[in-house]
Subunit: 336 residues, 2 copies
């Protein structure tokens, strides 16, 4: 697979993206296109020439003269900066020169670029960001996790269908259990939109398990967690903050019990495993499902490992031809 | 203070409520009215006669012949069962015979009973459940946490005003920092309702700190976290599930490293502190603010300690005359 990576996207780019590209090229057989200002990327790559045999790595620099900043207005920036690293990534996929594009930068702009250059799949009302989230015994997908603020039931239904396909094809989950986020298990509990979505999901042919409450998410009750992008984004970030807070409290708790210091080395190992489990970095980026091409949106604060995982997530989605799968599913399902 | 406790409300009632009443009576000088079927409560109390000098405790049984179940339709049950333990509690407050009512039962029914017997405070559009939530260095209030599913900006504004008063008067927080839950810090980020609420909160005279993201909640960025009851409920339950999952993972992580078992006794102490911190039981119930009288709604799975804390929360709210404070604040604020 050929993956176009926006070398200038992310809080620590291009250091993180170049490192991530090197990691990904070493870890896999995929070709990585590092897209951005040639000179800056080449200079960044040079830092690694002692550690790695760069010539042997399947990495190519693709020049793009402009950069879209984190604070720029998404649609405006994409419209105006046609030669930005992000836009060029999307164009490479649209032209069939790359199988997936990956960005850790301005996620609104990444969505705008995907919509502008890849276009929506015919029949898709709104593309959705489908973020993996760790559960007690695996992971689930939160769909949508931030692309769409105010949603109608038919949007949520499509989020469920698309995420279910992704889960089945990429994660190899048989008959993914699809749940709609609500405030109680009973079908009568919820807000106007969740109640109407419940009825649509019931008739969708998906493996719909009904309402799921907040506490069911990390318990792993559903493989696909359907909600609007406002709720999804709040949940994901709330989880991030709570995990961080809890780890701090565990450490603080230990400090209060001096004798417990003796066990710190062991605790550290356990905490490291835990952090790995709850760390977004291990999960790579989230696919923007519903656009006609693979587009992965990663966490802005991604480090090299996270970038690598986002690149590998893009490759996996492309290998499983997720776009074609969604197109076919949409043809077979009554969507609106 | 005199607190009317719905002895039949909660998953473990009347065992949990009777135990909680005894704990609260021992812990404080408040008078506890245990409301429910006389015979059942008396029998339950008898279990404690060896351990405690029941005569010395300031507890009185108030007979109520009916019970509202967890699955009953809230409004219908309250309308029909006028002599239910819950209804009698609310009536005691309405009649001035108790300073607060507390229920751990069907929370929809508790709201319905409060609205039916206590009525809304003049000018309040919708009462809100204001749940305390632990932060890294204290606690915040999530308002609303489940009473109102689909809200308008003017509802959310009132939730912020009422919770801010509660926070100031009961928690003694000077100028509580009020934030509105959203998906980014920038005032332009959010859904239709959050964006409109932002503008109203800005002009409210409250100590409004703008949008807060999911991750800011447990970081303690705001004292009052404003959101609709759908989002608030999902957040609270999600936090409950995630905390539980993380503790399980820490334990599992330890099991993977046999040598770490040696430190388990120390870890246990740290985890116990942590659990205490994230445990709803320590926080007692949540006040339903906006009704004309103090009404505390607790967690269905409350044990005796949690019931005691809910009773004490009710007493504190009554001592600080939170209802009068809200009435006065509403007169001084432009609300609609």
């Amino acid at each position: 697979m050929i993956i176009a990576l926006d070398a200038m996207g992310g809080d620590f780019a291009p250091a993180s993206t170049v490192e991530g590209a090197i990691f990904a090229a070493k870890e896999s057989k995929h070709k990585i296109l590092l897209v951005g200002p040639e000179k800056i990327i080449a200079e960044e790559m040079l830092k690694y020439h002692k550690k790695y045999n760069l010539q042997s790595l399947n990495i190519e620099i693709v020049n793009a003269t402009e950069v879209i900043g984190m604070d720029e207005h998404p649609a405006k920036a994409v419209r105006q900066k046609k030669d930005s690293s992000l836009s060029v990534c999307a164009k490479l996929v649209a032209a069939g020169k790359a199988d997936a594009c990956v960005s850790l930068g301005n996620s609104g702009a990444a969505m705008a670029a995907a919509l502008f250059y890849l276009k929506r799949i015919d029949g898709v009302l709104r593309p959705a960001i489908c973020s993996p989230f760790p559960t007690i015994d695996g992971q689930c997908i939160i769909s949508d996790s931030g692309a769409n603020m105010d949603c109608k039931p038919e949007h949520l239904l499509q989020f469920g269908i698309m995420a279910s396909i992704y889960c089945e094809k990429v994660f190899r989950t048989e008959k993914p259990r699809v749940g709609i986020v609500s405030v109680g298990e009973e079908p009568t509990k919820g807000n106007e939109v969740s109640l109407a979505t419940y009825e649509m999901l019931k008739k969708s042919g998906l493996n719909f398990i009904g309402n799921i409450e907040g506490r069911d998410i990390s318990r792993g009750k559903a493989d696909v967690v359907v909600c609007d992008g406002f709720v999804g984004n709040v949940i994901l970030k709330f989880g991030e903050g709570l995990a961080e807070t809890m780890l701090k409290l565990v450490k603080k708790g230990f400090k209060k019990h001096p004798i417990a210091w003796a066990s710190l080395p062991f605790l550290w190992t356990a905490l490291r495993d835990l952090r790995k489990k709850v760390d977004y970095r291990g999960y790579g980026g989230a696919p923007l499902l519903g656009v006609d091409g693979v587009c992965i949106i990663g966490h802005g604060s991604s480090n090299g490992t996270a970038v690598m995982n986002a690149v590998l997530a893009g490759a996996r989605a492309a290998e499983h031809d997720i776009t074609k799968e969604i197109k076919e599913a949409l043809q077979n399902t009554k969507l609106q």
